[in-house]
């Protein structure tokens, strides 16, 4: 298991590095932020002093060397806006996003598994139509508009929930509801597709031939095989969730890392921006590793003994199968009637 982990860390460290260096270079190209922080009539000397203090006068690769030197010593530089250490600000904002994303994904996965399996069991039933309708709308509604409609209906007209802020359970309802639509919409179709295909596999007939009850056939045999593809897509969706979080945090004033990132970009607060980017990239990197481990637990064929090629092959198979975004069948024609073998 360890060699597998070591290999996995090395192979995904590269994307992490590329992203951080990329952001570092891009941020530097926005020109000199002095204009933002110094009063308009600031003299040339004050600009000079500001540049030296923040090390902006050095050539770019020197700045990069200094920065990464600092990173190794956990010194992520200080925010130009508040003077605080960038790392503290990022770490303070991160848990809020983590909780939001975590709750949303949890709800999305649990709902998707229940609704998805039920939809697979009775094709074209109410749950099947409901799940394809939800995944259709989820893929078609911009999350910021959904948030605004939510506020307009529930906060303003009905007044059940506050329009923003974090205090109290009610404050969580709208943000989570807005964020959960897209992952749930995609995941429910993936689980439904995986369940339909695993229910048609011969090992289901074998289980039935042993006299297993419907509950055992679906719960133990079919669901376990449908879990692996679901997990791969859940991983991709969590990355997408950070997109949604940025918008939702801005609208609901949620003190998350998404909002911090947007503010630090708009105010060109490089240090904080880089700290946030690094933290998000690390989180995604850790998430990918967890998914791979979970995947190996679920599907023994991809365990290390099956060799790296087997692992990548099995995962690509699932990813290839499920990566088209929300596969939304129109309610009437989505019923998976098995085309009879005798179809002329």
């Amino acid at each position: 298991m360890l060699t597998y982990l070591r290999k996995r860390i090395i192979s995904s460290a590269v994307p992490l590095l590329v992203v951080v260096v990329g952001v570092f270079a891009l941020a530097r190209m926005t020109g000199n932020p002095a204009a933002l922080y110094l009063p308009l009539n600031a003299t040339e000397a004050m600009r000079e002093d500001f540049a030296i203090r923040n090390g902006l006068d050095q050539p770019i690769w020197v700045q990069m060397a200094q920065y990464f030197g600092g990173v190794l010593r956990f010194d992520f530089g200080t925010s130009m806006r508040t003077g605080e250490s960038a790392a503290d600000m990022a770490l303070r904002a991160f848990p809020a996003t983590l909780q939001l994303a975590g709750t949303t994904m949890l709800i999305a996965i649990v709902l998707a598994v229940i609704v998805g399996s039920a939809a697979a069991l009775n094709p074209n039933g109410i749950l099947d139509r409901f799940s394809s309708f939800v995944s259709m709308t989820a893929a078609s509604i911009p999350d910021f508009w959904l948030a605004i409609v939510g506020i307009w209906v529930f906060a303003i007209t009905l007044g059940w929930v506050p329009t923003s802020g974090v205090l109290g359970a009610a404050a969580w309802v709208l943000p989570v509801a807005t964020l959960v639509m897209r992952p749930f919409g995609t995941l429910v179709q993936v689980v439904r597709g995986a369940m339909v295909s695993s229910l048609s596999e011969p090992y289901i007939k074998l289980a039935r031939s042993k006299g297993a009850t419907q509950y055992r056939v679906v719960g133990a045999h079919a669901l376990r095989n449908a879990a692996a593809p679901g997990l791969t897509v859940a991983g991709d969706l969590t990355v997408g969730l950070v997109n949604g979080a940025v918008v939702v945090e801005t609208i609901f004033g949620w003190p998350g890392i998404g909002k911090l990132m947007i503010d630090s970009i708009l105010q060109r607060d490089f240090a904080v921006l880089q700290a946030c980017v690094l933290l998000t990239a690390i989180a995604i990197f850790v998430l990918n590793i967890l998914i791979d481990i979970g995947y190996a637990l679920l599907d023994p064929r991809v365990r290390p003994s099956a060799g790296a090629r087997g692992r990548r092959k099995a995962r690509n198979e699932h990813r290839g199968q499920n990566n088209t975004p929300a596969t939304t069948g129109t309610p009437t024609t989505s019923a998976p009637v098995p085309t009879a073998a005798i179809d002329a």
Binding site: S140, P142, I148, I262, I265, R319, G320, T324, P325
Partner: protein, 324 residues
């Protein structure tokens, strides 16, 4: 006794089968069969017409400020058809602005989808066919782009290189290339191992000829369906960028921008945000439904569903119902 229970439905479909044998039933006749797809096609063509001719028709109506008509209620005909959808905080007609916004939104979304489709598919097919190192490197690059939230990447890039429409198209295209690449690679890798491709190799066909003759015709329908789905995603991404203030900049107008501008007036003038948002949703749902129909129409194994006339469709649903 005859072996099969002939039902009137089957006679009619035998005729349908006959047409099928003469040549594939035309896409158009299949479109009419699925009422959801027909509605979607109508909406999309209306939106496209609006985008092309709208701004010319509206002329300067969209920018003429009329301080007498600030924040007018929509749907009250008293103040003429221009204000049927109400007016914004500067008294400009919502109808006119939304029509002009259609053009901007399509001018961003369509090129972005086309660029991503072209680059992503060709790169994916090439990587999938040749496999080996080329495939793994391409997949690593795709993973890098996919492993970072596309919106944040866009925000950073757009902030660095001033947010003009061209930049938005570029960044939206780049972040969506991996989606096409993954699908194209998966399908091409599977196809290149098929026996009829091996057969083509045995009589000396060159890889590019094989790709053109065997791989592309199979991959194209799937990718077109994906592109229609992506059109909806890219449109939402553009409006999110505009909403965050880094997308379309005033004086240009886009639906996302209108929603953002209307946000502070939510209590008093709800329609400033709600109506443009509705336009996005309607267009996006239409694109989604068309994509769902295309998925079935272009897949030979599923196509028969669309050739059934009403009579057989009823028996199809009865078949489904009592399979439970």
């Amino acid at each position: 006794m005859t072996q099969i229970q002939e039902k009137p439905a089957t006679q009619k479909t035998v005729k349908a089968n006959a047409t099928q044998r003469l040549g594939r039933p035309s896409m158009f006749s299949m479109l009419l069969r699925d009422k959801f797809a027909t509605v979607a096609a109508v909406i999309l063509s209306f939106v496209i017409l609006l985008a092309v001719f709208g701004p010319v028709l509206m002329g300067e109506l969209a920018t003429k400020q009329n301080l007498m008509f600030m924040n007018k209620e929509p749907f009250d005909l008293s103040n003429g058809w221009a204000y049927i959808l109400g007016s914004d905080s500067l008294g400009r007609s919502m109808l006119a602005r939304m029509v002009v916004a259609t053009q901007t939104t399509l001018l961003v979304a369509v090129p972005a989808v086309l660029i991503a489709l072209l680059i992503g598919s060709l790169w994916g097919v090439w990587a999938g066919y040749h496999r080996g190192r080329r495939e793994s490197i391409s997949m690593r690059i795709a993973d890098i782009i996919m492993s970072f939230p596309s919106l944040l990447l866009a925000v950073v890039v757009l902030f660095v290189f001033s947010p003009s429409a061209a930049n938005i198209v570029l960044i939206l295209a780049i972040t969506r290339i991996p989606i096409y690449m993954r699908t194209a690679r998966a399908e091409s890798a599977e196809l290149q191992s098929r026996t009829f491709v091996d057969a083509a190799r045995t009589f000396g066909t060159k890889p590019n000829a094989i790709i053109a003759r065997h791989v592309i015709p199979v991959v194209t329908p799937t990718l077109l369906t994906l592109a229609t789905l992506e059109f909806c995603f890219v449109m939402l991404a553009e409006s999110s960028l505009s909403f965050l203030g880094i997308g379309i900049q005033p004086p240009d107008v886009s639906w996302g921008l209108m929603v953002a501008q209307g946000r502070q007036y939510l209590q008093t003038a709800w329609w400033l945000s709600i109506l443009p948002g509705l336009a996005i949703v309607v267009t996006a749902v239409a694109a989604n439904m068309l994509a769902a129909w295309m998925r079935i129409a272009t897949d030979p194994a599923q196509r028969w569903r669309l050739t059934l006339d009403k009579q057989t469709k009823k028996s199809l649903t009865t078949v489904i119902k009592d399979t439970k």
